[in-house]
Amino acid sequence: MIAPIEATGLGKRFGSTWALHDCSIRVPAGKIAGLVGPNGAGKTTFLHLAAGLLRPTLGEIVVFGRSPQDQLLLLLDRVGFVAQDTPLYAEFSVADTLRFGRELNRRWDQPAAEERLRSLDIPFGKKIRQLSGGQRSQVALALALGKHPELLLLDEPVARLDPLARREFMRRLTEAVADEGSTVLLSSHVMADLERVCDYLIIIAAGRVQVAGDIEMLLASHHLLVGPRLNGQVRLSGAELVKAQHTERQSSLWIRGAVQALGPGWREEPLPLEELVISYLSTPEAGTQPRPELEEAAS
């Protein structure tokens, strides 16, 4: 099966800065994938490359087996995109915004889009600038869903919303894609937004992919080991060190791979997903390309 998004060795440079570097990502079909990383990690750049808004400096990205740069017209009907801050035309009314979607898309489901907004009690006659942030993002979502995209890309869609609106947005999003079986790639710098809805995670920091995989796989393959203070190098077999932290009396090791027996006094502690993500984000140099076994397990 063709992966909705497959990037190999993807790099994008702006001036002298690499926004994205040697990035290989495979987003499996039918998943809600989260792209998590701090601000400036390269999330927007990656999504723009996938949406055909940017050209890669290096490497290749294919969406449904096609290049979003050179064969965009073949993809536009199949890929929905919600840009950062959910841009809409402020002077358009809600009805105008839906008409905008209808006029510009060959594939467009007007009744579904209207129904979606009606169920949220969003008045069609109001101008976009008169809507609340939550309503605005819902209109943007309805516009992107109007063409029944097989792949939906969302760039920090809830970053500016209050917690209630965040939850409502995520609920509507998951409902919609559950009905249609679409693949979603959703970026955020807040893990809590993603944890509830995603089943696949790509951790990106400093322009590089740190790790990627099914959330269950990630949880199963990462461990937090706590034991007496280590003074030298630690030898790991069948595992890699993601992050190490030492206090006066004890050391904590975040590892990827098999659980290690490091000697007396060592124990494994629960590693919640948010902790796992932070261990990568706080030490971006620890990241490597997604490991083959994680890739296989994920697909």
């Binding site: 017209l73 035309y89 905008f100 006029e103 510009l104 898309n105």
Partner: protein, 298 residues
């Protein structure tokens, strides 16, 4: 795409229509009053002298006096470039809505071309219409009118200048990505190019005619009111020594004068050449803007 373009630019369309109608209306109105005056006083009545003293004639006189059409026809193309051309792409980039527009079902190329055609064509048509009214207005002033004085206000040059200003605006808007700086850049570039062409290039489109005359009583427009007289007359004494452009108490008696001019029958050739230059530049700039939007902008 047609509806989207209309929905986004209908306010600008209204403004353009109002201004073009005001300008065209005033030129047409003065032309009408002049034609009535010509009927009353004959061909050589001269500009405005024979306008009737009734309120209608007075309004026409006032319009003539303030040179409304002369200024309007030079300034409005520049304003179209700054206020309609520059924000065309820049406003989208400013608000981030280009990411919305470019991820719908149409390519950037089509998005931009439809916008350009639907916005530019009506404006050029309006400019051409007002430029033609100005020609009509000049025709009413008899065979001795000097068209070169209002070179920039007549038909082929006015729509070409409008296209040029719009092209500058679109290109600056696309590259700069912010409306206000793009508007400023458009105005500055428009003025520099138009003044540069008018002052440095225009008189050289065709080599000027050299006239040597010993009749010092009728120089320049007195010799031929329909010609474009270039520079000042050059006075020479009988030995062939150049005395200068002005005669003072210390210069000797002039013997003959050499003058350069473009005859009146070359006027339409010059209009066509300048309109072609502006159109050519505009098309190059538009091609660059299309390249930039489709390949470089993000």
């Amino acid at each position: 795409m047609t509806w989207v373009t209309w929905r986004q630019h209908r306010l600008e369309a209204l403004w353009a229509l109002v201004l073009a109608a005001l300008l065209g209306g005033s030129v047409g109105y003065v032309a009408l009053q002049l034609s009535i005056a010509v009927g009353q006083c004959g061909e050589n009545a001269g500009l405005g002298y024979c306008l009737s003293g009734d309120p209608f004639g007075r309004i026409a006189q006032a319009l003539l006096q303030f040179h409304l059409a002369q200024y309007g026809l030079v300034v409005l193309p520049a304003l179209a470039g700054a206020f309609i051309g520059a924000p065309l792409v820049a406003r989208e980039i400013e608000n981030g809505t280009q990411h919305l527009a470019w991820t719908q079902g149409v390519t950037r190329m089509r998005w931009l071309l439809v916008k350009l055609v639907l916005v530019i064509i009506p404006l050029i048509a309006a400019a051409a219409l007002v430029g033609c009214l100005e020609i009509l207005f000049l025709n009413l002033q008899g065979p001795h009118v000097n068209r070169w004085d209002v070179f920039d206000q007549q038909a082929p040059v006015v729509p070409a200048a409008t296209l040029f200003a719009l092209a500058l605006g679109v290109a600056f808007g696309a590259v700069i990505g912010r409306s206000v700086p793009a508007m400023a850049a458009t105005l500055v570039a428009f003025v520099i190019v138009r003044v540069g062409i008018a002052e440095l290039a225009r008189s050289h489109y065709i080599a000027p005619v050299i006239q040597t005359t010993r009749d010092l009583s009728a120089l320049g427009k007195q010799a031929d009111p329909t010609a474009w007289w270039l520079g000042f007359p050059n006075y020479y004494d009988s030995t062939g020594q150049l005395l200068g452009n002005l005669l003072g108490p210390n210069t000797g008696p002039p013997s003959y004068v050499i003058q350069y001019f473009q005859p009146g029958d070359r006027f339409w050739a010059f209009e066509t050449i300048e309109a072609s230059i502006l159109t050519g530049l505009a098309l190059l700039i538009l091609a660059f803007a299309v390249y930039w939007v489709t390949r470089r902008a993000s």
